[in-house]
């Protein structure tokens, strides 16, 4: 074969592969994956302009304090979803953990924490085992543990909320501050940093993404697929456990009936954060932005009702939330399509 032919073929290949990422593609990709941050900022500006005291320290800090529970759950969910799985059990697991930690709260914050996280780990363990060993689909397994955790929470709690001990220091965990910031918010920040590092700079995180991208390939590449999947559910359970401890300590009670629908909130936040539900791609920061964005909607609706112009019933609120989600996912679908078409 002639020399020029070789050169030409080389050129052809080169033309095919480069230039790698056009500026436009990068912009679209950024918008799709981090656009939620932009939306969050826009919504904050809107709120600040329209409502008094909206950006006041009180509102901001309580918002952070409250939404950390969802943030933790969403981080766990994000990892699960990035492997291509799903965890429906997070909400009722948090409820179960809140009950257990409330029961242990007289023994202080550490035992309460250990108990709550332990309960989360047990549910995570069951999920992980059933999914990796019995090979049952995550949707079904976690649907079952969703039911079971709720039942167990009610059984342990004797069908009612369980008081926490108010003088063992347990409530500091959810109600206290550290350097002027709510302790839960610190925990949320920690989860964000640790989660981001784990996702981007550890073999575990990379394997998570590989599994979500193509599980069979990951297995044949020699990646520890089962172990990582197992660990992801364990992690999700543990984070739900921490959320449960915060629930108990922030509101002063173990609540067996809480957590209903949290899983869907978390899934929505993960999706709003730009993570593909089919796995293989995602960001922890964007997921947490998604949580704040959805949390902010509730907050803004409450402020809107305070303006006294209109009083939105709860019914309208769910319609508005649904429509908001609709707009976000459609925008994202559009961006994804544009990115793909490039």
């Amino acid at each position: 074969m002639s020399k020029s032919l070789q050169v030409a073929a080389g050129e052809a290949l080169e033309a095919l592969s480069g230039p790698p990422q056009s500026a436009q593609r990068r912009r679209l990709h950024f918008l799709r994956t981090q656009g939620v941050l932009v939306a969050l900022i826009l919504l904050l500006i809107f709120g600040a302009c329209r409502y008094d005291n909206f950006l006041g320290a009180y509102n901001v800090l309580t918002l952070l304090r409250y939404n950390t529970m969802f943030g933790l759950i969403a981080v766990g969910m994000a990892f699960v979803i990035m492997t291509g799985g799903i965890d429906l059990s997070v909400g009722t697991t948090a409820a179960l953990s809140s009950v257990i930690s409330a029961m242990l709260s007289p023994h202080g914050i550490w035992l309460g924490l250990a108990g709550g996280v332990g309960a989360g780990l047990v549910i995570g363990l069951v999920n992980g085992l059933a999914i990796t060993r019995l090979k049952i689909l995550p949707f079904i397994v976690t649907l079952c543990t969703f039911l079971a955790a709720h039942g167990l929470a009610l059984l342990f709690a004797g069908n009612q909320s369980v008081s926490v001990s108010w003088d063992s220091g347990f409530t500091t965990f959810g109600q206290g501050d550290f350097l002027g910031f709510p302790i839960p918010a610190w925990i949320g920040g920690l989860a964000f940093i640790a989660g981001s590092i784990a996702l981007n700079f550890s073999g575990f995180g990379r394997t998570v993404l590989a599994i979500g991208g193509n599980e069979e390939a990951a297995r044949l590449m020699g990646l520890p697929v089962e172990r990582v999947k197992f660990f992801v559910y364990l992690l999700s359970g543990a984070l739900a456990g921490v959320a449960g401890v915060i629930l108990a300590s922030q509101f002063g009670a173990g609540q067996p009936n809480e957590g209903n629908g949290w899983e869907l909130f978390a899934i929505a936040a993960v999706v709003v954060g730009g993570t593909r539900l089919t796995g293989g791609e995602g960001s922890i920061g964007a997921t947490l932005s998604g949580v704040l964005l959805l949390g902010l909607i509730f907050n803004i609706l409450n402020f809107e009702n305070g303006k006294g112009v209109i009083s939105l019933s709860a019914y309208w609120q769910s319609v508005i939330r649904g429509v908001f989600l609709l707009i976000v996912v459609i925008l994202q679908a559009r961006l994804a399509k544009k990115e793909k078409d490039l």
């Binding site: 049952i136 949707f139 039942g151 769910s318 996912v329």
Partner: protein
Amino acid sequence: MTALALRLGQSRRLIPSGALLGLALLLVFNLAFTQNFLSLQTFNINLTQVSTIVIVAVGMTMVIATGGIDLSVGSLMAISGALAPLIFGAHSGLFAVPVLGMACALVLPVLAASAGGVLNGVLVTRFRIQPIVATLILFIAGRGIAQVFTNGNLQTFSNDTFHWLGLGKVLGIPAQVIIMLIIVAIAAWVMRATLFGRYILATGGNERAARLAGVPVARVKMAAYVICGALSGLAGLLVIAINSSADANLIGMGIELDAIAAVAVGGTLLTGGRARILGTLIGALIIQLVRYTLLAHGVPDAAALVVKAAIILAAVYLQKRE
């Protein structure tokens, strides 16, 4: 060769034997330990209670077979259930004409729920949004819409047509049970014998390949969501008919999970590409019978949840091993 024939025969069976076995065990247990279990009454009550779940689950089976899922079924039931009394209760315009009004009260709500299915279908096929998220939208907003219609109020009514739908009997069999059986039979036949059935399975089995083989995948998926929506609408009508009241806040609450569980227990792959309508019926019956058994033996709700979870998991696990 005989082993092979046996294997093929099994894999083509319409009802997974594990599910049948589970149902049989439950029946035997109840015959032995539950008072008055063997009576027409008990039989009818269990079938009526399961009928709405089965009707919804049939639609869910089709959606799941295309590789999707529908979380919005409960909300669509609420929309349909909330609309019907508004229509037959209206005393103006067309709706005031007796027969026409009643026909509208039966048809329009189902159409409204189907419209919800259209929205789901559009989001899934045109915008390529993951089914779980696409239908989450109506899951959240749909019930809100129903509540806005009724301002959250409970609507009580007495209406002959709906009274019959809810409590009527034909040859001693409750009307809803007959409706349920007809729907199951039609759906099972559609999945087995018709082009549409094959197309659903092909779409769920490998969407890209199906499209290149000329399967109109978008239309097939759309049809599945619309059917699921319509069946949810019908189920919504049945629920209000039985109660002689419509409560947008509660109609169909949480039914998506029961329906999905029934589908899974019945041996339909949650990943798509397989559909067992009769399996879904059996799956729903198992879940219903578990509920009945626990209730009849006074097991508290909390414990019942745990038992129910264990049974679903076990049943699905047994399916897998077949």
